[in-house]
């Protein structure tokens, strides 16, 4: 436990446990499974965002568990329309607020946060087009993907964000199958390729980091994307008590690195001081990886390491004075 606290101190800045908001805007009594990290993530996200927030939610676990009429867990205005169009609906909400402020029908000085919320299926697969449109148009919306690496609401079907080698009901492990056979789609990098001012990855195992990233994304003018790695004990086959630890292991093994891309500059949020742990430590906590043979794990390990190395290089490259002078300033500081 003490190790976790030390880890947190390394990268949590604005918010610390002492001043973390006490208010809850994602209320108790929802129907999530025990140990549901996405539900926990939403609780933190709304703590950070506060009451002046409109949430646009995709169809999926979090919509289902939080809104069985006449009950609701949402202490802020919340709208669910369909599966693939969170970014589209959020674009409309943002445009409406913008024009109503301009026309004096809303107080122009009142800041209203708009948060789009969708799972990995609603983001990496069916909602990717709408997301790309929203990011390209640079609507002042924070889009948050809670990534539990499969279609959990419909019963653990594989998505393009399902981790390589994971067994799901549509990518089952078998004699001729290792489970999910291709590399996890990296939506955070896709988002960054839209040159939006802020992209980050986060995980509710590191709540202060998550909350600070949400705060930062809401303070920055323009579109922001946060990819939140959110373990699903039910779908991943781990005890519900393990959700936080599994998230931590994903970060510590480099399976899911935490980083920010702020105005084109990459910054890794947490570099494990003793180096990355072997991915077996993460894999062995979950039933979905149980079938993987040693040689497959080794290959995945190689790719995880390579991905991490690439991240280090990106960080190194983009944090130079030359990069800032030649790209960041002319690109982000020039207002057309």
């Amino acid at each position: 436990m003490s190790e976790v606290v030390r880890d947190l101190k390394a990268f949590a800045k604005a918010l610390v446990y002492k001043n973390a908001p006490k208010e809850e805007y994602f209320k108790r009594g929802h129907r999530a499974c025990q140990g549901c990290a996405p539900a926990l993530a939403i609780r933190y996200i709304l703590k950070a965002a506060g009451p002046n927030t409109i949430v646009v939610n995709a169809t999926g676990c979090m919509e289902i568990i939080s809104s069985p009429f006449p009950y609701t867990s949402w202490g802020v205005p919340w709208i669910h329309v369909a599966f693939e169009n969170v970014a589209a609906v959020a674009s409309g909400v943002e445009a409406a607020i913008k024009v109503l402020k301009r026309k004096g029908r809303l107080d122009p000085n009142k800041r209203i946060n708009i948060i789009g919320l969708a799972g990995d299926g609603g983001t990496a697969d069916i909602g990717l087009q709408a997301l790309s449109g929203m990011l390209a148009r640079n609507h002042n919306v924070t889009y948050i993907c809670y990534d539990n690496e499969a279609y959990m609401n419909t019963g653990v079907q594989g998505s393009s964000a399902t981790f390589t080698g994971a067994s799901t009901t549509t990518t089952p492990a078998g004699r001729y199958s290792i489970g999910q056979g291709y590399w996890k789609k990296n939506v955070a990098e896709i988002a960054a390729s839209h040159y939006v001012p802020y992209v980050a990855t986060a995980c509710p195992s590191y709540p202060l980091d998550l909350m600070n990233k949400v705060r930062k994304s809401l303070e920055i003018e323009g579109a922001a994307y946060i990819h939140v790695f959110a373990p699903c004990p039910t779908g991943w086959g781990c005890p519900s008590s393990m959700a936080i630890e599994v998230g931590r292991l994903a970060v510590e093994t480099g399976v899911y690195p935490l980083y920010e891309v702020e105005r084109g500059v990459w910054k890794i949020s947490y570099i494990p001081p003793k180096g990355l742990k072997p991915i077996e430590e993460y894999f062995k906590t979950q039933r979905r990886f149980k079938h993987l043979k040693k040689e497959v794990v080794e290959k995945i390990q190689e790719k995880v390491r390579a991905h991490w190395e690439r991240l280090l290089m990106l960080e190194k490259m983009t944090n130079t004075e030359e990069f800032k002078e030649k790209f960041v300033r002319p690109f982000y500081e020039v207002q057309i």
């Binding site: 409109i54 369909a82 169009n85 589209a88 409406a96 301009r102 709408a130 148009r137």
Partner: protein, 407 residues
């Protein structure tokens, strides 16, 4: 906002008659309504509408947010979001665009968002065909939108403007679709009386949805409807659209009183002494009336009945119009096909409207003008003659006759 003369685009000062494309007239009607958010995607033949709106926004004539979305699915999704945030919202599409939005078409009415959509009616693929028929509007017949047909540019302009007042009425809160025929209307220049802002002062109240996304009054929209509640929600929706009829009539009445142009749920032409009438929707109505005028010179007692208001369906008006006077045979012109079903979609509705009427007239169906094929003078004559033939033989065929099809 600067007042420019029409030639530069934008809101005119005083009502004036100009030669104008119907698509541009519709855009002008949305601008006249001071729409807050426009969200639309290019598709032929609708595109001129949103192009014109984009110009009005770009030139600062219309103070609105124009969202250049990446698909029609997003166009309507964004419109829905904007509408429920408290913005007056307009979108426009055709055929494939409407088909792509279909999921959200249903949700928009179910979530009671009074979005106004101009639907430039176009044939559905395949084969891909950009020209006019009514297969697009018929595909969304049961989605819970108020759906109204315009027959010419002036009507397209007037009805688009009225659509906001109808849909946004607190007793209605439903989306409204204004149908106008692709190319036949969208791209045709006709004389239209455009209003100035002062002319319509007070006609359209400001938009204020009673339940909007407002952090001061948090509401949950679009929750899960379990089996215990879903039926009741759908019943409410049906009651809402049926009840909208009184508001539609009241808006038509107020418009007629203030501006002199009368609109009705069902329009009739020369039916007082007619034995055979043709039932129409959209721009074919004016053409059919012309045919009736010509053929009356040759002694034919024919008339035209147009079902302008498609949803909510005006059962009583259709029933009384088609059983009035000397009408013995009703020929219903369909511009789309229900494959493997009753074939004539409008025909089957007309039949059902007359089912309980004693001594009801014979109802037969014709289909014509699919995918932009012109309906010629002789085609209309043929339709009426089929009616006369049915009267002579006393036969009321189940199936429609496709006029002019090569077999």
């Amino acid at each position: 906002m600067s007042q420019k003369m029409y030639k530069n685009g934008g809101v005119v000062k005083m009502a004036k008659k100009v030669g104008i494309e119907a698509a541009i007239a519709i855009a002008e009607a949305a601008a006249l309504a001071d729409v807050d958010v426009v969200s639309a995607y290019p598709i032929t033949p609708q595109t001129h509408i949103v192009e014109h709106l984009a110009h009005l926004v770009a030139d600062g004539i219309l103070n609105a947010e124009f969202i250049t979305v990446e698909s029609e699915h997003t166009a309507l999704s964004a419109a829905l979001g904007a509408s429920l945030t408290g913005a007056r919202t307009f979108t426009s599409t055709s055929a494939q665009g409407l088909a792509l939005m279909n999921e959200i078409v249903y949700i928009t009415s179910s979530m009671r968002a009074p979005v106004v959509m101009a639907l430039a009616n176009r044939a559905l693929s395949a084969p891909i065909n950009i020209w006019n028929d009514h297969s697009d509007v018929m595909s969304v017949r049961d989605t819970g939108w108020i759906s109204i047909f315009a027959n010419n540019a002036q009507e397209a302009y007037d009805l688009t403007f009225m659509a906001f007042k109808i849909g946004e009425h607190p007793d209605v809160l439903l989306p409204v679709m204004i149908n106008f025929d692709g190319f036949i209307l969208t791209h045709v220049i006709e004389p239209v009386v455009l209003f100035g802002k002062e002319d319509v002062e007070g006609f359209l109240p400001p938009y204020d949805h009673p339940y909007k996304l407002d952090p001061d009054r948090p509401v949950t929209m679009g929750p899960v409807g379990l089996p215990e509640i879903y039926t009741e929600v759908k019943k409410q929706q049906d009651v809402a659209i049926r009840s909208s009829r009184s508001v539609i009539d009241a808006v038509f009445k107020e418009f007629a009183e203030r501006f002199g142009r009368k609109y009705s749920a069902v329009e009739t032409y020369a039916i007082d002494d007619a034995e055979v009438v043709l039932v129409t929707q959209g721009s074919v109505t004016d053409a059919a009336c012309f045919v009736v005028d010509e053929m009356r010179k040759r002694g034919k007692k024919w008339g035209v009945v147009e079902i302008r208001l498609w949803r909510p369906f005006p059962f009583d008006d259709v029933g009384s119009a088609l059983t009035s006077g000397k009408i013995k045979c009703v020929v219903v012109l369909d511009r789309a096909i229900s494959f493997g079903g009753p074939a004539g979609i409008v025909m089957s509705e007309v039949r059902s409207a007359l089912y309980h009427v004693p001594n009801r007239p014979i109802v037969i169906g014709v289909t014509s003008g699919l995918g932009g094929r012109d309906i010629m003078f002789e085609d209309y004559v043929r339709m009426f003659e089929l009616g006369e033939e049915a009267l002579r033989t006393g036969k009321e065929p189940e199936m429609v006759t496709i006029i002019g099809v090569r077999e």
